[in-house]
Symmetry: C2
Subunit: 426 residues, 2 copies
């Protein structure tokens, strides 16, 4: 087949991103003014389009999966990439679920009267233009787009090249649905080039993109955090601790610790380090439960003494996010020892205490400086859905704007509305 | 006088800032745990110390003023630099006022029950370590330090070299007061070198400083925004608009516009551009009032026609923050024309409408995308104190974390406290 020569000179990645940003800014102006109902309706139309386009989307996905297999992607990566009718149905359902969430935009955060008599209100408004940089999971295309539209933001999506055909098909379908309900294509853009410079251009697009959220592995997040000139919401590591206090209920401790480590080992809220109070009476059976569950236990000397299957932990183990059936385990001197270990090694994501002593729990919650601090619960609950926020766009361990699970509210900012009756300043 | 040779090799600016950050982080751990009462008491002790040290502080300030005069600083700059007994008393009073403000730390932002039954609370906590980079006003040393301590944050202060002696004396006195009340010197540090590389080191101190707030002129803010690898709260420009709608009350419009422009021309909330509805019946007298007040009016053709003292505006005038008795003035086609002009030229700081038409006011507030949107009030009210927030550390025009006047709440973040009864995730 002959290919016609391009009629216009090819744009560079920087020019492409610049155009995306300009279009997105324009779209964000209309999105900001859309009513709750209109946004919800558009999302339901998009979900409907995804269902109607199932065949095309799965065909596109099959191309990516074939190419991935040919390139020798690992089974785990291929599984992340793969869509099937059930997975696509779940994606469409989640769009409907986001449509049903309450709209944060327009919410009055507070109201006060100024000393000079004006009424002051702070009201939530969309942030503007959000950039999402992600890897091989094609569902992120839709999940992120739905949350951005729901909160009145325009979004620029940049997915991994291994999911290119899937992302294009999902995006085309989603946007077709939105279009039918009055939201223009610029509101949800998929970066139209796989040129790697496009990521750098997004990270540099200060003024064009208001917030970047990376979704993917540690190397992606590290690169985004290192290079971005635009604010970033993300977490780099989830080195989550569970501390079994002397006053913990042994059955509860065992159930929580095994769940926190082994329910799913690959999520950021999975426990990576188990801290056991030297005065906790049931430590041997706690360690045995983990080893029985197929977990490799890397411990200090006391752990090695109590659990014959344990191996010796190295210094790096206390700073390692395994995302696997491996746990580091150490004995500590009571609450003080646990707080000191966590202050030194936690990544500020989620840390938990198991105890029936309310004052120990209160001190743990006051002094642990992490986004999420739990008492008597599995750290695997560190998730926007499990928090009842509906859905999350990510978990943030930074200290500004939003912390912990970031959902619709984290995709908004506020403005001050001042209503006077002719006040002038003295 | 002989000077002893330094016994240790001199530290580089980067090493000095690194040490400041480490000390500040340590101090922030204790500050985070301090009670409301203890922080308030420490601030009152610091205010007392400032009053007790009046003679030393004024002597140090006199050295700066003499040096500044010898270097040929402008009268305006010298005035900013100068302290006198009354100004110092005001600074001490403002510390007492900050001590009396409600403590945001510990405030519960929301509470919900997770689907699995845990109680979830979001509670405000200090951000951690704040960096303040400022110019010649020595009062910033104390104002910023007081707000940071009040909100449980450690602070690293870097003032201008022209105020070096003043800042050192103020800082030494303030810290002496805090020390007496149990807050260590590392909680409030003044960068101990005037080496300009120290600013760069602060801007690069990702992980060491959690937030940087520049206080000063546009070139300082622009440099901080361009170079910082640490989040920044700031505003670059205050290009504030007042739109006099067709349905504005003429007396109110005149009073507000004159106040917004001329009360103090050098503040960021001063009006820089006046927009007049073509259908507003009293435009000539509005323009005359500004000119009568000594304001240079730079206008479009219709302005020139109505006000003989007006001069012709150039394209740049619509994007200029004069901070002086100069205003740009244009006629626009109703609300739509005003919204279009503001969307194009506003710096996102403060924009105002003067109208007695409630629906025009509502649309203006909905569609103007600025940190502060006012109806029937002077833009000179754009100030944390005037908003009843007690005091402000600055005004932010960014879209993340805090927007508009930033006071104590803006110096906090939150954490999620989860309380379960043994929940594990299914």
């Amino acid at each position: 087949m002959l290919t016609a020569a391009p009629s216009t000179p090819e744009l560079t990645a920087v020019q492409i991103i610049d155009r995306c940003c300009q279009d997105a800014r324009q779209a964000s102006t209309s999105l900001k003014r859309m009513s709750n109902t209109a946004k919800a309706e558009a999302l339901r139309a998009a979900a409907k389009a995804l269902r109607a386009d199932t065949a095309e989307i799965l065909a596109a996905n099959a191309r990516d999966c074939e190419a991935g297999a040919a390139r020798g992607l690992t089974p785990a990566l291929l599984d992340r990439l793969r869509l099937d009718p059930a997975r696509l149905a779940t994606i469409a359902e989640s769009v409907d679920a986001v449509a049903a969430l309450p709209d944060p935009v327009g919410e009055e955060i507070d109201r006060r009267t100024a000393p000079a008599g004006m009424t002051l209100r702070r009201v939530r408004v969309p942030i503007g233009v959000i950039g999402i940089i992600y890897e091989s999971r094609p569902n992120v295309t839709i999940d992120a787009a739905a949350l951005c539209v729901r909160s009145g933001n325009a979004v620029i999506l940049r997915g991994g090249s291994e999911a290119m055909h899937s992302n294009r098909a999902l995006h085309a379908s989603f946007v077709r649905g939105l279009n039918g309900a009055g939201i223009g294509a610029s509101a949800v853009q998929l970066v139209p080039t796989q040129d790697r410079d496009a990521v750098g251009a997004m990270l540099a697009a200060s003024g064009g993109i208001d917030l970047i959220i990376p979704r993917g592995g540690k190397s992606l997040v590290a690169r985004v955090q290192a290079d971005a000139r635009v604010p970033v919401l993300a977490h780099l590591d989830g080195i989550c601790h569970s501390f079994v206090h002397a006053a913990a209920d042994p059955d509860m401790a065992k159930a929580i610790v095994v769940n926190a480590k082994l329910r799913r080992t690959g999520i950021c809220g999975a426990m990576e380090t188990l801290l056991i109070d030297r005065d906790y009476p049931d430590a041997a059976s706690l360690l045995a439960a983990l080893a029985d569950g197929g977990c490799e236990v890397r411990g200090d000397d006391m752990v090695l003494e109590l659990e014959p299957r344990a191996v010796s932990a190295s210094d790096e183990d206390w700073d390692t996010e395994y995302l696997d059936a491996i746990v580091s385990a150490a004995f500590v001197d009571g609450l003080d020892g646990a707080l000191a270990h966590i202050a030194r090694h936690s990544s500020g994501h989620t840390d938990a205490i198991i105890t029936s002593d309310a004052s120990a729990a209160a001190r743990f919650q006051a002094e642990v400086d992490s986004a999420i601090v739990m008492v008597n619960a599995s750290s695997q609950f560190a998730d926007g859905g499990e928090f009842g926020l509906g859905a999350e766009i990510g978990i943030a361990t930074g200290r500004l704007h939003a912390r912990g699970p970031v959902a619709l509210e984290g995709l908004t900012t506020y403005k001050w509305l001042v209503e006077g009756t002719g006040q002038v300043r003295a």
